[in-house]
Symmetry: C2
Amino acid sequence: MRRVSIISAGMTKFGEHWEKSFRELIVEAGVRALENANLEGKDIQALFGGCMASGTFIEQEHIGALMADQLGLNPIPSIRVEAACASGGVALRMGYLAVASGAYDIVAVGGVEKMTDIGAEDAAIALGGAGDQEWELFNGATFPALYALMANRHMKEFGTTEEQLAAVAVKNHKHGFLNPYAQFRNEISVEAVMNSGYVATPLKLLDCSPITDGAAAVILCASEKARGFTDLPIEIIASSQASDALALASREKLTEMKATKIAAAEAFKQARIDAKKVNVAEVHDCFTIAEILAIEDLGFFEKGYGGKAVEEGETALNSRVSVNTSGGLKACGHPVGATGVKQACEIFWQLRNEAKERQVKNAEIGLTQNVGGSGATTVVHVFKRGD
Amino acid sequence: MRRVSIISAGMTKFGEHWEKSFRELIVEAGVRALENANLEGKDIQALFGGCMASGTFIEQEHIGALMADQLGLNPIPSIRVEAACASGGVALRMGYLAVASGAYDIVAVGGVEKMTDIGAEDAAIALGGAGDQEWELFNGATFPALYALMANRHMKEFGTTEEQLAAVAVKNHKHGFLNPYAQFRNEISVEAVMNSGYVATPLKLLDCSPITDGAAAVILCASEKARGFTDLPIEIIASSQASDALALASREKLTEMKATKIAAAEAFKQARIDAKKVNVAEVHDCFTIAEILAIEDLGFFEKGYGGKAVEEGETALNSRVSVNTSGGLKACGHPVGATGVKQACEIFWQLRNEAKERQVKNAEIGLTQNVGGSGATTVVHVFKRGD
């Protein structure tokens, strides 16, 4: 298989885009990604797009064809992939495999979701489709409730506190404050999180990522040709994916995401590094507990120590490992199909030293971890600066 | 890129499966495909699943994870792809690329749809998502109406008659009568089609494919290892995909599917054969006019001659080219996400001489053409018997 690099990235601001359509979001992110590398549409040979639930959110399927059409890329092959909230990460992986295989030299990878066009109840059903709708949601377990079960168990087994959960949100809002693409650009305090209403005990409103509209795109190129487009390509040195039971009740443990552990082990093997080498990581903090599980299961910290690590600042900007410099899903926002691609955009900018006020110093190795549902899919990518 | 072969196939009967769930359909098709090659779940390294609109049909997304879970395949990567009614064909192509790349030796490709759990109006919205919902369906053009526009134009330009359209349905019911997996196992006459009610002039009820539940699966293997699993692997000698405008109004012509022409040209180039070499083809007859467009755009017959060719029996079983021996979408049924994979199952059985009463004699080369929406995506695969 050939080596693959990212040569460009582009995204919309994440937020509530009442004035923009699904299609406009796609075009805005896609055109920015093309322009940032001085590419034209005709340079792109195939398109992979992540989108989770457009059928429910906007009553439109056939998203691959729609993306190619709106971006003026016909007649290239265009493929939508869906893996719930990991749709973007899986799209990246499919694009990676397509270039690695030799089938294409340059492909575009996008992710998009327009979530604000329907009411809260319909949105809950749409997002419930990420879990086991039949066994969980239809029986009354909302999506936050699934993560609340994990949080409760983690608190019981390891003494993790609600304040430690809150510390995740506080950190990510601090980062989001520095990111012009973020939905929430306000800092919050532990007290503010603690005083926000319970959504599903122990998770409170400010432990939860928001409903978001947005799109993100990256351009992948065979590494051997990447220098023709940019002086600083970012190589994808690992791409892995693993699956676990769809329903929480069928998992071995509530205090870890097995799919993350398996995907991480595979990714570090491919990249020939260990977790300690990672300078900057975008992980899937759909709820604050998810970030704690992620930094443990990725091997950044020992199992059970994640909450304390966040509380003590070991994941803040320019600490031991800078986690969610974009603001994460919590503060940057979480347009479900776009998140996995946004994570790659953020790492691309970090490793190129283009992240401005939120720049991690001397970042050489970046990682993204994108989760579908309550952990049934995890996709991990590892990125490296330079050649 | 490595050569890739199909080593096994399995499917459910297509039909109205009131007694079976989405999950049961997946398991039935998947287990049959595994058993037919004496494989076990642990032999499968990745799973690619086509599904169009599960969010609308059954309020469930994250279909990749659900498939892996139900089939006991965790923790392998499992990816759902969506390209409207071409979802199955695109899943096959993704599985093909994954093996061709060297990333995996053996992968499973599945397709599934459970369409009968919702009412007709909701189903119309779900299927409308295959076209341009915003510009076509919301403005009153039902999905049959889009194909009716194509039929009218074809009739005007080339003198194609309603009786010739009917001849497609008559032929495909004749084939479906011979196929134990088919939804409709009854022969019909041209008179019956002509006397069925108009759905969208000139298309009548019996010009339209039905609402169907069903699933289909194939197992792909690197050709160099395929003989370890079966004495008669069927090689995929071409895999191509093209895109066109999502909305009919944006197409260059109504009398051809440009994406089919482009995908076919690319496929025949990869396969190093021309259309004349194809013995048996499964093409996308969601409406009778679609089969006429397909056999013209694939190059089996000259543009404008398709209707006459069908009427004169040139596409019947064991004629010049045997088209839709399964019964096609019309008689075998059309569970939208499964159809593209079912087409591959049928060709696999035909080229292995296992199609019994509907067997094409001495079939060496097979082809599948799977269309998304009204032609915005076309996927073409070419298959060859033996090594």
